[in-house]
């Protein structure tokens, strides 16, 4: 069920109406769990079994671990839980890539390999809820949190519908304590603006820019460098608005249902270095990778080489988390390389970015240039096309023959206008510091005017063909 569909509207109205009738917390939890399962089953009923399996395994292991003092036994329990979680993830997400790659290798080695390939459907949101349940089990193992004895609470933590299919990845330490308090519907201006902002980002910005991005990246070899640049910047805005739009809607819906979710994005395109970038982009995933992978590998506790190795492994796995495709691995590799280069420079004596405005702006531009290059690897799955686009992006061809621009179906100028509009909104958002609080404080008249304007614009700029959220595929 997609947030911007009529079914979801009905689903929300029914859910809120029933919650309005049921006042006690326990029935409300059951209702939320039941609704979350229906939300998920709308896509494919069979795959709810995976969520139930994952819930049962991690809940049981948590309970078992709490009663176990023997370190070795605790470790074995952790290994069992992680094997179950990662086994599911590997089978459903990576088996195809693994078997196809092996088949490719065998074709090189022997002329006619006999090999059976399976066509496996990827369960929506599996990467998100698997990482969520793993964080719970690891935190219980590390004794950072106490395991919950309430199966409904845990099941709701795993399946809570606002963040089930595309995050943010919420930690048990954040979510479970909220279930100990009464669940109260709290619909305020800030929550509605969060949801509206999410819709606007997705439908008005991301989906409209996608027309230009898709048109250019279909055959990147046909376009000069200037257009590749515009399309790459367009994709950077598209994926940000698509994903952070989903996060905004999820956080807003959770807020109405009485839950507080952590921020998932914080102006990533003003990051001045790679460390700063990963504190701003998909924060719930990057902090997960830091806490459960990078630190588990040793973090920066060893020498330089171990640190670089850990950074690269973390980013490679972070890339693979996005999907079973070599281009995501390359994307992770590039980000790993950028982090290593930055750390290498940072460790050198005398290296630091000055406090002046020019130095700050230059560092932002340099960082974002690197981010844009990595977005090409992320967006274009066809390797020869990816290399062509990267070459044209890095080695600018100074070809300004733009005969095809403005004619045809890629709405070139409108997309650029929307990109400029996005930049202006970002500047405004940065200037007001906390946009959510700001929007929450706006007095009623202007707030209603903004809502009407959004409705008016949404009518005319609602895309002719609706694309699902990009991060659904992960």
């Amino acid at each position: 069920m997609l947030f911007y569909t009529f079914e979801f509207l009905i689903f929300s109205i029914v859910l809120l109406s029933i919650m309005g009738i049921v006042h006690r917390s326990e029935p409300r939890k059951l209702l939320l769990l039941f609704s979350s399962y229906i939300f998920y089953m709308w896509w494919n009923p069979a795959f709810i079994l995976l969520i139930i399996f994952s819930t049962a395994v991690n809940y049981s292991v948590g309970i078992k671990m709490s009663g176990e003092d023997n370190a070795k036994s605790r470790k074995l329990l952790l290994i069992a839980a992680l094997s179950a979680n990662l086994g599911l993830l590997f089978f459903f997400k990576y088996f195809g890539l693994f078997s196809d790659s092996l088949l490719g290798l065998m074709r090189i080695l022997c002329s006619n390999p006999s090999w059976v390939t399976l066509n496996i459907t990827l369960p929506v949101g599996i990467s998100f809820y698997t990482f969520q349940t793993m964080s719970y089990t690891i935190d219980v193992y590390r004794k950072k949190i106490s395991p919950t004895n309430a199966p409904i609470d845990f099941a709701l933590f795993v399946a809570f519908f606002p963040q089930l299919v595309a995050g943010p990845i919420v930690r048990a330490a954040t979510f479970l304590p909220q279930l100990n308090k009464p669940i109260k519907i709290f619909c305020d201006q800030q929550a509605i603006f969060l949801i509206l902002r999410g819709f606007a980002k997705k439908v008005l910005i991301a989906d409209n820019i996608a027309i230009l991005v898709d048109g250019v990246f279909l055959v990147p070899g046909d376009w000069p460098s200037i257009i590749i640049w515009i399309a790459t910047i367009g994709f950077a805005i598209q994926i940000y608005c698509d994903f952070s739009g989903y996060s905004d809607i999820a956080i807003g819906i959770a807020k109405i249902l009485g839950f507080k979710f952590p921020q998932n994005f914080n102006h990533p395109y003003i990051a001045r270095n790679p460390s700063d970038y990963w504190k701003r982009w998909h924060i719930s995933l990057s902090s997960w990778l830091r806490d459960y992978l990078y630190i588990s590998l040793g973090g920066n506790r060893g020498g330089d080489f171990q640190t670089y190795r850990n950074l690269m492994l973390t980013m490679l796995l972070g890339g693979l988390w996005h999907g079973a495709s070599w281009n995501f691995l390359l994307w992770g590799f590039l980000h790993g390389a950028i982090l290593i280069i930055h750390r290498w420079f940072s460790n050198r004596k005398g290296y630091s970015v000055g406090p002046g405005l020019l130095a700050q702006v230059l560092s932002i531009l340099m960082m974002q240039y690197c981010v844009l290059v990595t977005w090409i690897a992320f967006r274009i799955t066809h390797f020869p096309d990816m290399l062509i686009a990267m070459r044209k992006f890095i080695l600018f061809d100074f070809d300004f023959q733009i005969t095809n621009i403005g004619v045809g179906s890629i709405s070139f100028f409108t997309s650029i206008l929307i990109m400029i509009f996005f930049v202006l909104l970002q500047i405004f958002s940065i200037r007001v510091s906390n946009i959510d609080e700001y929007l929450g404080r706006v007095s009623r008249g202007p707030a209603l005017a903004v809502c009407s304007l959004l409705g008016f614009i949404a009518f005319f700029f609602w895309p002719l063909s609706q694309a699902p959220f990009i991060y659904f595929q992960f």
Partner: protein, 341 residues
């Protein structure tokens, strides 16, 4: 106090939702006005619909097709060279395929004695029928199909066109939102692309060639590779559905007392190299079969003009239009299609 605050919040949320809906309703109520005022690439549709209602025009032949026909056929030149000087209109619009053209047939005045219907070979192989955006433009400019047009197209193309015809007025108005994007695109394009001039599309009923400059060799190559990617080549024979459509179009013209000729669009000679000669032979064979089983002629203009007359992969220069128009005059005379006869 606390309860009051929560109630206020709830009401505030409700008002915000109502405000969004009010914004949507306002947009819906002005959508028809916006559509008629917004500059767009299908504005010519309105010009044509109005021209067909003009009782003083009395055209005797019409030419229908896409922007290739807009750039490549000068009906004034044809009129001047045909005996009896029959008045001809160029009713081509951007991206108009033969199914789109068919929608206009019901509106043709009685004075029209000949329909010259252009088609691309590709139209015959695809699943495409009426294009929603073009139909939407016609609808928003006041066109409504009659029962005969609807039933003929539904019989041939099934639910693909039935879905379009069955859209309600509200749905069509919501669908028409594309015009705002295109208006924004057109306004900026007019400001930054002084080399492009589409003004003639909005008034010229005879030869709306925009006088585009010929592309450089590099750009021409890009334009060709964008348009004719070798992988896009589809093998003929084409679909039976399209053959049936062409026959119906011819029959409909006969019923309306008009002569009809199906013309294969001029194609850039480089496409021969990209798609191969075999492909061309199959295209010709397909259209020959249609001609043999119908009461109308198929005119092959695919190689009627040389490479030097193309301004890009598709469109034709003004001098190329002279060549193509003269070719049509010759064919009309040869096949005895002159409406004044």
């Amino acid at each position: 106090m606390r309860k009051n605050r929560q109630q206020f919040n709830g009401m505030a949320c409700l008002w915000m939702v109502v405000a969004v809906i009010a914004g949507v309703c306002l947009a819906l109520s002005v959508s028809t006005w916006v559509f008629k005022k917004a500059p767009n690439d299908l504005l010519r549709t309105n010009v044509l619909l109005e021209a067909l209602e003009d009782e003083e025009l009395n055209p005797q032949f019409v030419v229908m097709g896409s922007s290739v026909v807009m750039s490549g056929v000068d009906t004034r030149r044809i009129t001047s060279k045909l005996p009896g000087k029959p008045l001809g209109l160029n009713l081509a619009t951007t991206g108009q395929n033969p199914a789109d053209s068919y929608l206009y047939y019901q509106n043709l005045p009685k004075s029209v004695g000949l329909i010259l219907q252009f088609t691309t070979p590709r139209f015959a192989i695809g699943k495409n029928a009426i294009e929603l955006q073009k139909y939407n433009a016609m609808y928003m400019y006041g066109y409504r199909p009659n029962d005969n047009t609807e039933s003929t197209l539904i019989n041939i193309f099934g639910e693909r066109v039935e879905n379009i015809f069955s859209m309600s007025n509200l749905e069509q108005r919501f669908q028409s939102r594309w015009v705002v994007r295109q208006a924004a695109d057109n306004i900026v394009r007019n400001l930054v692309r002084d080399d492009l001039n589409f003004n003639s599309y909005t008034f010229d009923l005879y030869f709306p060639n925009n006088g585009a400059n010929r592309l450089s060799a590099l750009e021409m190559q890009r334009s060709l590779s964008r348009r004719y990617i070798a992988e896009h080549r589809h093998d003929y024979p084409a679909t039976e559905e399209k053959a049936l459509f062409f026959k119906n179009a011819g029959n409909q013209a006969s019923k309306l007392g008009k002569k009809f000729a199906l013309i294969i669009n001029p194609i850039h000679p480089e496409v021969h190299r990209i798609y191969g000669d075999d492909w061309y032979r199959l295209v010709r064979k397909y259209f020959n079969l249609i001609e043999e089983s119908s009461d109308f002629y198929v005119i092959d203009a695919s190689d009627a003009i040389g490479e030097e007359y193309f301004v890009d992969a598709l469109h034709i220069s003004k001098s190329g239009a002279e060549v193509l128009s003269d070719f049509l005059v010759k064919e009309i005379m040869r096949l005895n299609l002159n409406p004044t006869n």
